[in-house]
């Protein structure tokens, strides 16, 4: 079962992708810049960026012959929306439990 419905949560489950994500939160970067200081190859960084992009967490655009990656605010807000759904679901279930006759609650 999925706890957070948005695939972005799963994309962030990888330690390297999380590191990339946090770096992009600081500022937009090209692949080469991201690869510096990360313990993975540049092609691996590109693969991780693809996963993040497919999950809607980052977007890219061309600047000259480079691709600059940055966080996608809409994708990030989806993560927050999943927490929101969590509480919406919890409170609806809570209401059902609390309104049961008292002796039926274990």
């Amino acid at each position: 079962m999925q706890t957070y419905q948005h695939e972005g949560w799963f994309a962030l489950g990888d330690r390297t992708r999380w590191a990339i994500f946090e770096r992009l939160a600081d500022r937009p970067c090209a692949v080469g810049e991201l690869a510096i200081g990360l313990p993975v190859s540049r092609p691996a960084v590109s693969q991780h960026l693809k996963v993040l992009k497919d999950a809607g967490l980052v977007v890219d655009h061309a600047v000259g012959n480079r691709r600059i990656y940055r966080l996608n605010p809409d994708g990030l807000a989806e993560l927050r929306a999943d927490l929101d759904r969590f509480w919406l679901s919890a409170l609806a279930a809570y209401k059902a439990v609390v309104e049961q006759p008292e002796q039926e609650v274990s």
């Binding site: 079962m1 706890t3 949560w9 489950g13 929306a81 929101d84 409170l91 059902a96």
Partner: protein, 159 residues
């Protein structure tokens, strides 16, 4: 909503047909009875969720094999009016061990009548979970922020 805090907190309220004392005790003692079942970081089915009824207490799930997963701390316990727990779960859906990076959930109980209680819930300080949330704050301040998500909630409810 256009204030920064709107993006870094989540608010919901619900009115229940129950006296305030019962509303409080069900929310705390019986947390496991309404918590969405997919909220489970154990590798096995949850046998029970334990909510220790005191400030400084722990909130944890116990699996059917006896394993435990503590995912919150009780920060304030003031029956029947208010309870605050930490949310020690990272955006990577793992237990956050750095307590500086945890958010918190405050629940307030307000008696509307002797038999009806309003429950207000705020999950706040989401930006503490990491730098990414700062970007969230900037992102949802725009025009396509909140209204869009409210529509999505409506869709979820309708679906």
């Amino acid at each position: 909503m256009s204030t920064p805090s709107a993006a870094t907190s989540i608010r919901h309220e619900i009115v229940v047909q129950a006296p305030i004392a019962r509303a409080f005790s069900v929310f705390t003692d019986d947390f496991g009875s309404f918590k969405p079942p997919e909220h489970n970081m154990l590798g096995v089915e949850i046998a029970e969720t334990v909510f220790e009824p005191r400030a400084g207490g722990r909130v944890y799930d116990r699996g059917i094999d006896g394993s435990e997963c503590q995912w919150a701390r009780v920060l304030a316990y003031e029956p029947p009016d208010r309870v605050v727990i930490s949310w020690d779960i990272s955006p990577r859906w793992q237990i956050e061990t750095d307590l500086e990076k945890t958010s918190e959930v405050e629940v307030r109980f307000i008696a509307e009548t002797p038999d009806r209680t309003r429950v207000e819930l705020e999950h706040r300080n989401l930006d503490r979970h990491g730098d990414g949330w700062e970007a969230v704050r900037e992102g949802v301040d725009g025009t396509d922020g909140w209204p869009l998500y409210l529509q999505r909630f409506a869709d979820v409810l309708a679906g």
